[in-house]
């Protein structure tokens, strides 16, 4: 990047001494040193007035390495003749100034401030700007922040101030018994949720579980019944290969009745059943006895699936209710604290 000479800068002249007075002349104005503030260029060793270069004198302490306009443009200042002229681009570097707004001193090492006092001063100005809702007095705010800092102790603790989930914890009723009762104990919404949860856990889930148990018992009885029937029939007649229902067995002589019934609790007596059973009727004692029953196809696994699904959904519902109760409690706690501080 080629930096051009600024408009106000006259073209370069290598004049170092005034021809008339024989004094050393400096800067772009080519005047002798009259005590005015000057800065030395690191490239060409000439001195330049701040004013001539349109730099405010308040920056005098912030110069790190200065290059005059001629060196920046590449006209002068190549101390090392070996370096290639086009590649070396000198640029003025400045030091970082103190963070406090009106201070133009350079920062200390690894600090944002020129001195410890300015650091404190800056922080004080920030705190003065804190405005806390509800307080109309800025002094009060300042005092408040002071208290916060003092109560935290260390900087780390101060940083995590306010992150504790105090609204999520249960409130101690002693803080204000009346308010606690009114708000939290009597909250209808919370009560509803809690009641529902109790109902599910104590009533509905055991209900479904017992249904599953009785279904299981029935199915076992059915299996035994089928085995018995097979014995009875299979001994006398050679049964053609029956493609059974959902229980895929390759046994040629097995008898598998459908077994569907609306009442799985009262299980009839096996022997009685076998005796009075005849192949002709499709139902016997309320139980469907068709062999290849398309209508009631797969009824047992469907019923099991249904109960299992009910169980699963009830459990997730219970979990969800738990969560809602937690959230509601938190909201009520917020309300409680709000009313407490008013």
């Amino acid at each position: 990047m080629i930096v051009e000479l600024p408009d106000w800068c006259p073209p370069y002249s290598s004049l170092k001494v005034d021809s008339v007075t024989n004094e050393d002349v400096y800067c772009i104005c080519k005047k002798p040193d009259n005590g005015e503030l000057m800065v030395g260029c690191d490239g060409c060793d000439d001195w330049f007035h701040f004013k001539c270069l349109h730099i405010s004198t308040k920056y005098k302490e912030l110069v790190s390495s200065f290059y005059c306009p001629y060196c920046q443009a590449g006209i002068t200042g190549n101390k090392n003749e070996e370096d290639d002229v086009e590649e070396v681009h000198h640029k003025t570097l400045w030091k970082r100034k103190c963070r406090l707004q009106d201070c133009y001193k350079p920062c200390q090492d690894n600090s944002k401030y020129c001195s410890g006092e300015h650091g404190e001063e800056y922080m004080r100005s920030i705190v003065m700007r804190v405005k806390i809702q509800g307080n109309n007095d800025s002094n009060k705010d300042y005092a408040f922040v002071q208290k916060l800092v003092q109560s935290s102790g260390t900087a780390d603790k101060f940083k995590i101030f306010g992150e504790s989930d105090f609204t999520k914890k249960d409130i101690d009723p002693k803080l204000n018994v009346e308010l606690f009762d009114k708000l939290i104990m009597n909250d209808t919404n919370l009560k509803e949720l809690q009641e529902k949860e109790i109902e599910i856990n104590q009533q509905q889930i055991p209900d479904v579980e017992s249904k599953l148990e009785s279904l299981d018992k029935y199915l076992q009885w059915l299996k035994a019944l089928n085995a018995k029937l097979t014995e009875v029939e299979g001994a006398t007649i050679v049964e053609p290969k029956k493609k059974g229902n959902r229980k895929k067995t390759k046994s040629n002589h097995s008898k598998r009745i459908c077994g569907f019934t609306n009442d799985i609790i009262s299980i009839p007596n096996t022997d009685e059943f076998t005796e009075s059973y005849s192949q002709d009727s499709t139902t016997h004692q309320g139980i469907c006895t068709k062999i290849k029953c398309a209508k009631h196809h797969d009824w047992a696994s469907m019923l099991i699936a249904r109960h299992n699904q009910d169980l699963r959904t009830l459990e997730t519902y219970s979990e969800r209710l738990n969560l809602l109760i937690k959230m509601r409690k938190e909201q009520l706690n917020i309300q409680f604290y709000e009313k407490l501080i008013k």
């Binding site: 809702q133 919404n189 938190e330």
Partner: protein
């Protein structure tokens, strides 16, 4: 006539300069008032503060709005976000997407869409069930300060903006269906006035519009012309009931010093419970005055002066529910009225 029921600001301490919006719940039992960075829910029948909801906003709130089922409120803030808060469970969503302060909000009648308008010149439609942005409509060249969806017919959305345009959009597709005003008036320099508030009538066929010069008009949405104009009492040279056309027009052209309001003040339709009576327009102004006009014959039915009630503070919000009216001014004074 408006009769005072109660002064809510006695019970609910509202901060001066920070109470910017008040809104009745859809069933009319509660009132949501913005107070600084939280929303106070006031129960009208018991006369007590029902709940204080904290929002997650960091800058002041411009508007609060109830969901149609009365279970949530949504707040629009200068920190570019919208908060959707559930009354029982707390914060549901923070809707982020606008790139400038969000000014106005409204739900559609089913409650599944929330429309917001902002100073970034766009209108955004959000899906409230999932908390996501569905659509952005950019059809203005200045801040869009007011949007409205009719409660009975949510197929159209109207918007009013500081660029002087009143536009009607299709909520389903986001296309612009109609524009009622121009944004450049070639004939007169002062022809274009920034719009400050828009409100639909019950049947979505008429639009009540207030512009920053204080004039309130009713537009016919289908035909696109003005059907009623309600001027302020100051321009009182015009007696609109006069039949002499010439004199009226002369005065109109003369009294042209355009007032410029500083605040976009509230206004609303009031539908009296007696079905025979025509609807009433209630509008508030910068100086704390409230005007009530009859929409059928444009008569000024009542003028509430500023000294007694709102003490010269701009009426920042007016909301009507049945025959109840709530007026809120910027200094935190909030009153509840009923129309008899």
């Amino acid at each position: 006539m408006l009769e005072l029921i109660g002064k809510i600001s006695d019970l609910v301490h509202l901060t001066d300069g920070l109470s910017t919006s008040a809104c009745f719940s859809p069933d009319g039992t509660k009132l949501a008032i913005v107070d600084g960075l939280s929303v106070v829910i006031y129960d009208i029948s018991s006369g007590e503060v029902f709940q204080t909801i904290l929002t997650s906003h960091v800058k002041s709130i411009s508007q609060v709005c109830w969901s149609p089922d009365g279970q949530c409120v949504a707040t629009a803030s200068d920190d570019f976000t919208i908060n959707v808060l559930h009354l029982l469970y707390g914060q549901l969503y923070i809707l982020m997407g606008h790139t400038a302060p969000v000014i106005s909000l409204c739900y559609n009648s089913k409650g599944n869409l929330l429309c917001s308008s902002s100073m970034d010149e766009s209108i955004k439609i959000w899906d409230t069930l999932n908390g996501t942005l569905m659509r952005t409509i950019s059809a203005h060249s200045e801040a869009v300060v007011s949007i409205d969806i009719c409660t009975f017919d949510s197929s159209i959305l109207s918007s009013g903006s500081f660029d002087g345009l009143i536009r009607i959009f299709d909520t389903a597709t986001g296309h612009c269906l109609k524009t009622l005003t121009y944004d450049k008036d070639w004939k007169r320099e002062t022809g274009v006035v920034p719009i400050s508030q828009v409100k639909f009538s019950k049947n979505a066929k008429f639009l009540l519009v207030k512009s920053l010069d204080g004039v309130v008009k009713i537009w016919d949405c289908v035909r696109g012309n003005v059907v009623r104009t309600f001027p302020l009492q100051d321009d009182n040279d015009i007696d609109t009931n006069k039949k002499d056309g010439e004199e009226q027009i002369d005065n109109k052209q003369q009294g042209k010093q355009l007032k410029q309001m500083n605040y976009s003040c509230g206004m609303d339709f009031l539908y009296p419970e007696d079905d025979d009576k025509p609807p009433i327009v209630i509008s508030g102004y910068d100086n704390g005055e409230i005007y009530c006009w009859d929409t059928s014959d444009k008569k000024l039915l009542q003028l509430l002066k500023s000294d007694e009630y709102h003490k010269d503070s701009p009426i920042i919000s007016i909301d009507c529910h049945g025959s109840m009216v709530c007026s809120l001014s910027l200094n935190g004074e909030c009153y509840l009225w009923t129309w008899k």
